[in-house]
Every structure is written in C-alpha cells, then in structure tokens.
Symmetry: C2
Subunit: 382 residues, 2 copies
C-alpha cells in the first residue's frame, strides 16, 4: 500500500541536469556527475573560494577541479572574483535545478571534523616538533614522498593516544616521511618506537631528533620491497603507514606492517581519497588481509604541496585478527611507475621548456640559473 503518489522520477536522471553529465564526460572525472555537483555545492557554500580549497573539500585532485572550473567558466556558470564565484546563470542553475539551499557549514569548528582535539600536552609537543619538521630534506617525489604538516602528525599521535594505541605499546612506522614518530615518541607513552624507511636522509634526521630530545626511536634502513628483517617480525602491537597511493604500494606496505604485527594488532592507514572503483579495490584488499575498518575520518591529513591529491587524505584505524600478508607486484608501487607521466615545465625567467619523465621538479635548475617553473603540460604514457 502506497500512501501518496510517486514523484517525477529520480533526480539523477533529469534532463535539466544534463550540464553535469556533459562536464563530467568532458573532464572524464571518475566520480561522474556527483563530482561536478560536489564542486558546485562547495562553491555555493563557500564562495569566493580557491581551486585548492575546492579540491580539499571535495577530496578531488587539483588538476581535475581546475579543468571543471575552466569548463564551467566557459559555460558562464562560474566567474573569477577573488576565487571561484557563481554567475547569475550559475546561481539560477544550482538553486533551481540542483535545489541548493544550505549555505553554512556544519563541520565542527573546534576539531575541524577530526573528532579529537589537542590538549596542552599535545600542543606543547606540536611546538617542540615544528622546528624539526622544517629541517626535512627536499621531498623525493619518485618515492611518492609528500610531507604532512606538523599539525597532521601531532593529530595522528593524539588519535592513537585517544584510542589506547600508544601507552605500553610497541609501535612501528612503515615509512615515516611524515615524521609521525617524533610526536609519538615525545609522549613517552609507548614501550618502543621503530621507524623503517629507505631514505637515509630522513632516518638521520630522526636519529638526531631522538638524540637531541632524549627520546628513544629505533631506526631501520630497509627497502620495503624486501621482506622484513626477522627481528622485526611478529614483534609489534601497532603500526602506522602512509604508503604510495597505488594498490600495489598499499598492499606491500600493509603486508610489511602485518609481518611486524604477527597474528593480530592495530594499523593506522593514511591514504588518498580515491575514485570509487579504485577505493573498492582497496577495500577488497584490506578485507582479504583480515583488517576491519573500525573508523575512517576523511580530510584528517593535510600535506605541504602534493596538489595532485588535493593536499588531503583520510586516516583509517584498522583492527586485524588472523592477519594475512597480501603482496602483489612489488616493483610498480610508486605512482610514477604505474602511470608514467611526461611533464613539461617552462622556466619563468628565460622561457626555456624542460621535459621531465619520472624526474623530480624539485631538483630541476634551468641553464639560466632560475629555479622557478610553471607546468604547462602533462602527458600520460601508456
């Protein structure tokens, strides 16, 4: 028995929404119409707003947002006024067709949606680690390094503390270019803090931190493509990782973590907000290893630079029982190897064009002496 009549058919297929479909198709955005709608909603609620901030709030890659923005400007839906702003036509479209009405934000202003806050103790830790974060070596993008902000790393430590995963625990970091081991060690709560990384520059920085600050962090130089050293296996309660954002990278780093935990334990996984198809694959692989996602907080982590991922990733607390290693292709773990990309950069001083293939822009120097460039083109090699 149905009381009342049905409406005019589901919203998502209405003809007046064709603009969304058209734009989604042009940009080839994996999130489809919903992705374009999300961008418009974020602009409606926050205008004027920068492309970078749209990307963060929508959890979309910056180049995708930039493309959508350009097309919507051409369609006279958006204009530029200290950021993206809806035109009169745009406002008419989002309010009458998409039915947008809500302009505020309900995100908690105190914790910014993270659900936890820093008390005095953790605020002091933040101040203590900040100068060390500034000493980090240049990122090596070939290793998919990208540096989390000091706030992010301290919030991670606070989350681990709140969930009971620091006190009395043996903790290992499977890669630690984010230096999360620093605030974790400063709490003095864990039994042991280990860091495994391939980058000696980072390990040396961590070593000199632990000496200067009088905290114990044990460092291990190791290429994670190889099995864990025997002494580290089955020897930890908790691990934390922010792996390369490829399926094989994720599987490899989680599996090395599982080797360290043994049968059971807790994992903190920081990972990029992926398009549904890819994230579904990730969920499958995590499930195969016998990890449950006990908690998943979007936009928990922020990074310096790394615009491709919109500067923000989620954190998930995984709990494992009867854990299984699940390793795929150990060679193609870095994004540059999975999707080789040629990037063209123009020198901002002399105008010379430089072509980069799996090389780091950070180490590029023009013959004219300049270090400033603008990317003018990207091409994916198949």
């Amino acid at each position: 028995m149905i009381i009342g009549k049905m409406g005019k058919g589901k919203v998502k297929e209405r003809e007046d929404r064709n603009l969304l479909k058209r734009v989604a198709k042009k940009v080839n955005i994996s999130e489809g119409e919903r992705g374009v709608e999300d961008i418009l909603r974020v602009i409606y609620r926050n205008q004027p707003i920068s492309t970078k901030r749209i990307a963060q709030l929508c959890k979309l890659p910056l180049p995708i947002v930039a493309k959508v923005r350009t097309i919507l400007e051409r369609e006279r839906i958006l204009k530029r006024e200290n950021g993206a702003v809806l035109t009169e036509k745009g406002l008419e479209f989002v309010e009458n067709v998409l039915k947008f009405k809500f302009k505020g934000s309900l995100r908690c202003p105190l914790c910014e949606g993270r659900g936890i806050v820093l008390n005095e103790f953790f605020k002091e830790i933040l101040e203590k680690v900040k100068p060390w974060f500034r000493k980090r070596p240049e990122v090596n993008t070939l290793l998919d390094q990208s540096y989390a902000t000091p706030e992010t790393s301290v919030y991670r430590a606070a989350l681990m503390c709140e969930r009971g995963d620091l006190e009395g625990k043996r903790i290992i970091f499977i890669g630690d270019d984010d230096l999360t081991s620093l605030p974790v060690a400063l709490t003095q709560f864990p039994e042991e803090v280990y860091v495994v990384d391939i980058d000696e520059r980072l390990l040396n920085l961590i070593k000199s931190f632990s000496e200067k600050e009088g905290v114990k962090i044990r460092i291990v130089k190791h290429d994670l493509r190889k099995e864990m050293p025997e002494e580290l296996k089955n020897n930890f309660d908790v691990f934390s990782t922010d792996p390369p954002y490829t399926i094989d990278g994720l599987k490899l780093f989680l599996s090395r973590g599982v080797e360290c935990l043994g049968e059971e334990g807790v994992a903190y996984l920081s990972y990029s907000h992926k398009p549904i198809d890819e994230w579904l694959k990730v969920q499958e692989e995590i499930t195969k290893m016998n990890f449950v996602i006990s908690e998943l907080i979007p936009n928990f982590n922020y990074y310096e630079g790394s615009e491709i991922i919109g500067n923000t990733t989620f954190i998930a607390r995984l709990i494992g029982k009867r854990l299984k290693v699940n390793i795929g292709d150990t060679e193609k773990i870095y994004t540059g190897l999975v999707k080789p990309t040629v990037r063209y950069y123009k020198c901002l001083k002399c105008g010379k064009i430089h072509k980069l293939l799996n090389e780091r822009i950070e180490s590029l120097r023009c013959e004219c002496g300049s270090k400033k460039f603008r990317m003018i083109k990207r091409e994916k090699l198949s």
Copy 2:
C-alpha cells in the same frame, strides 16, 4: 642494518599480562585481551564510571562489561565507589604492567567526536521533533526496534546535509523506528522523503507529524522480506537504514535500499560495533554489493535503552557504483531468531520468576500487578 637492539619481545604476549588473558577467556569476550584492556583503560581515564558508560566508550555489550567488572572485583583489581574504581592493586597493575599514563580525554568536547555540530537551524529542528519522539509507541524488540535519541536523529540529518545528500535529493528510509525522516523532512531540503516500514504504529505517527507540521513524508507499509514495490525501484538518490544487527538483516535491508537506488547512490548505515570476526563478515558483504565505506564514525548514534549493544552504534556513509543486491536468508533477520535466548525476570514486588523466550519484557505484567522486573539470568539456546 638495525640501529639499536630489539626490546624484550612483543608486549601482547608478556607473562605479567596473563590476567588479561585469563579474564578474556572466562568471559569468552570476542575482543580477547584487547577488550579487557580497553575496559581497564576507560576506567583508569574516567573513574569513577558506571558500567553503562564503560560499555559505551568501549563499544562493548553491557552484559560483557558487567561480567568483566565482577571478575575484576573478585581479583581485587576493581572496587565500587560511586561506580567502578581501581583498587591500589589495580592501579599498580595498569600503571606498571599495562603502562597506562594518560588520564584525560582528547575527544572533541564540542561535537563529541562526531565531527559535525548543529547550527541554530538544526537546533530549532531538534526542539520541534522532541515532543514527537516522546509519542513513539512501545518498542517491539521482536523487530529489533530500539529507539535512537532525538539528538541522534537530528545529528544524522545534519551529517546528511553537510555531505550534500539532502538538497534536491530523493531520500528513502528503509525502516525508520528512529524517526530520522522527521528532522530530514523539516529541513525542506530534499525533493522527496519516503519511509518504508512494517510497523503501522510508526507510520501513523509519521503521517500525523507530516500533517501537523506541514511537511511532505510519503509512507509505505511494506514487509522488507518481500521485494520492493516496482514504483520504488531505481527511484532514489540516497537511503538511510539502521537494520537488525544480524548479517542477514544487514544484507536484506541494504539490498532493499539498493533496489531503491538502482545503479548508484549513497547510503547511510547505522550498525552495531561488532566483534572483529562478525564485522569482517559485514565488511565483506558490503564490499560484494559494491559499496565503499567513505566514512565511518564510531559512537555516532545513541539509543534509549537497548543496553545489549551498549546504547551506541556507528554511522557509515557508503557510496555505491554498479550496485548489486545481496540477499541471504530472509527469515532469520532478527537477533531473537538467530540466537534464541531465554531470559528470566524476577518481579520486584512479589518475587515471582517469569521465563521469556522471544517475548518482549516491555509487555510483561506480573499477576501481582507490578510492571517492574529485574533480569536474573540469560540462556542462549543452540
């Protein structure tokens, strides 16, 4: 190359922690030692604390927490002083063996860990729905009904709003004993709000609400064990459900929701914090349907009564693409049918013992006229 020597072996297997293992075994707690450790940590951080609050914070069933508490009292680890409190021996154990040190709480005091807050608009909605929540009929525990607090339902509506799942959307509630449709409809943001439920008493309450408050909620009486009516199929953008906390209940309710979404859409799932083995199964089934868990917030929902689940459940926002229906046994969807339990209640007036099998304590009346009982025993039938 390992710098520094390894510690004395992993914490979780140390002999001095045997107490945890012993208690976990006695209570047969699926979370094992970690469960007992969680209970002790929550007491250490919040003493004196009630059994109910321990259950909420640990996300464990109340009867389990009560049993652990009793055994730990016998072991002279805990005592009673306006709630659970650690004895001197207990303090010594948790500080020297488990190494507890942190006494505060980092949970955001403003949003209580939910990540979102109510603005004036939603606070007004809360006040408006409160009297309607008081009019709810007696829960029918045979249908696994348990009533969320009005705050919980309004927070759900706020979360849906913040994530962009209200404005202009067609929304359906797959069961709505929590009356979440009320605050959702009061926003006036959605295109359509539908409620499907088997309980006519609830549907009538929703109907009179929508008439009195002048908002449109369409109600459909339907037994979810049967396929969705054709008119509802492939006709919605978003659904919300708080299904029976059994695997088959979850699969059935989600599948009916999927019938309503068609190929793709968003789902809000409220579900009990399950032991790892069971939650792993849930994660597998969700993944099979092609839903990704884009967000999972523990302790988001609170209920009136329903102590078995510790009064609190999580909410997850699922995004689906190429969705698949995934229905198991449609008969054994309610917990009482999966694990038939005999409960014995003692009348608090005359002392008579009543035996209940799949009957509701809410409708029990003693021959002496009293309606007050204390449960004295539970037995699971195999």
